[in-house]
């Protein structure tokens, strides 16, 4: 048997290590936000999910109400199917809409929920019908260039007619 003092020191060492782990997990990581618990799952289909990742936040009016649990591709419609876990205390109307937004200018992407006006609420396992895909920078630039070309083309055409 080891001496009593040695055992106490080892016990203190292990205790200190566990305290450090709990400290980092709670104060410096995201353990304090709700884990599983009372959530229900709804689905949303997007044409383009952009940079949305699993465990991204779901916010309504900017307030965190849930997390993205999984992202997959529907092999028939080729849309992205995103499963959202929303806290049970928040019930959203059936015609709520989901958008993929970016926090800040260059931040991570999250799902923003806007409540609709219907009386009936989304059931667990239900689908959000109205969605807006993420903004894809290349499409935006392509649109901008196309508009610019159209403008200069029409103004050049007017110049020729004169």
């Amino acid at each position: 048997m080891a001496k009593k003092g040695v055992e106490v020191m080892v016990g203190l060492f292990v205790l200190l290590g566990l305290v450090g782990l709990v400290f980092i997990a709670l104060k410096a990581a995201n353990l304090s936000s709700f884990s599983s618990g009372d959530t229900y799952t709804v689905m949303a289909r997007f044409d383009n999910i952009g940079g949305l990742k699993s465990r991204a936040p779901v916010r309504s009016a900017g307030v965190l109400v849930g997390r993205v649990t999984s992202i997959s591709l529907d092999p028939k419609t080729f849309q992205g199917v995103v499963k959202l876990a929303i806290e049970r205390s928040f019930q959203f109307p059936k015609d709520s809409s989901a958008k993929i937004l970016t926090s800040g200018l260059l931040g991570d992407q999250y799902v923003g929920l806007e409540a609709g006006y219907e009386e009936d609420v989304l059931a667990p396992g239900g689908t959000i019908k109205q969605t807006q895909s993420a903004v894809v920078l290349e499409n935006l630039i392509g649109q901008f260039l196309f508009n610019k070309a159209a403008d200069s083309g029409s103004s050049a055409g007017q110049g020729e007619k004169k």
């Binding site: 040695v6 782990l21 104060k27 410096a28 990581a29 995201n30």
Partner: protein
Amino acid sequence: MNWLAALGVRSLAVLYRWGHAAIFFITLLRAVPASLRRIGPVITQIHAIGNRSLLIILASGLAVGFVLALQMYYALVTYGAVESLGLIVNLSLVRELGPVVTALLFAGRAGTSLTAEIGLMKAGEQIAAMELMAIDPRVRVLAPRFIGGIVSLPLLTILFSAIGILGAWVVAVGLIGVDAGNFWSIQQNGVDVWRDLGNGVVKSAVFGVICTAVALYQGYETEATPEGVAYATTRTVVISSLAVLGMDFILTAMMFSTP
């Protein structure tokens, strides 16, 4: 053609050493369950390996936290992103610097002491005496140290990261004037318990196995002379450090490649 023969001899020697080390490792693993029956030596070893390393690990963690916070501040202030100081220090420590620096310090402090101790036991014929008395030296001497190293290194890594973050807090909030609430909340938003902290702990467990096994092997296989023991201790540090850095690259690529 002599160089060809010499090359063959050298390659075979390298392969022999690797095979020998692998067999040593497997027999060491087989001795672990038997050694767990007497918990006394294991606790003594955790004290010798873990508790005795606390001072250097905590002091280094504090210093690394201070310095990281200062250097990151100088880099971030040009982009006006000083608020993310806590997040950057946290992620650097928990994902990379914590496991790797702790493992390197551990190899230097505990690894060399293990190698020297086992080497001197071998030189003083204590191992041979044990084998004569039908006591398996692996169960009685090697496995408790192995378990002690595997238990100690993750704990030491967590303490290194925790005190590093506290050191960064002192510099950032105390010295520089970053907002205290923001300091913690940006970390809480940006650091994932399973992906960052969990992977860091897994890394440190792997490094614990590597450093302790290398130290024990070098001690066990050393020549029974003072020069042999000295040579073995330097080999322990060099091989442990290289193995830790190599495994760190592989583990980081495996764990942190895709979201």
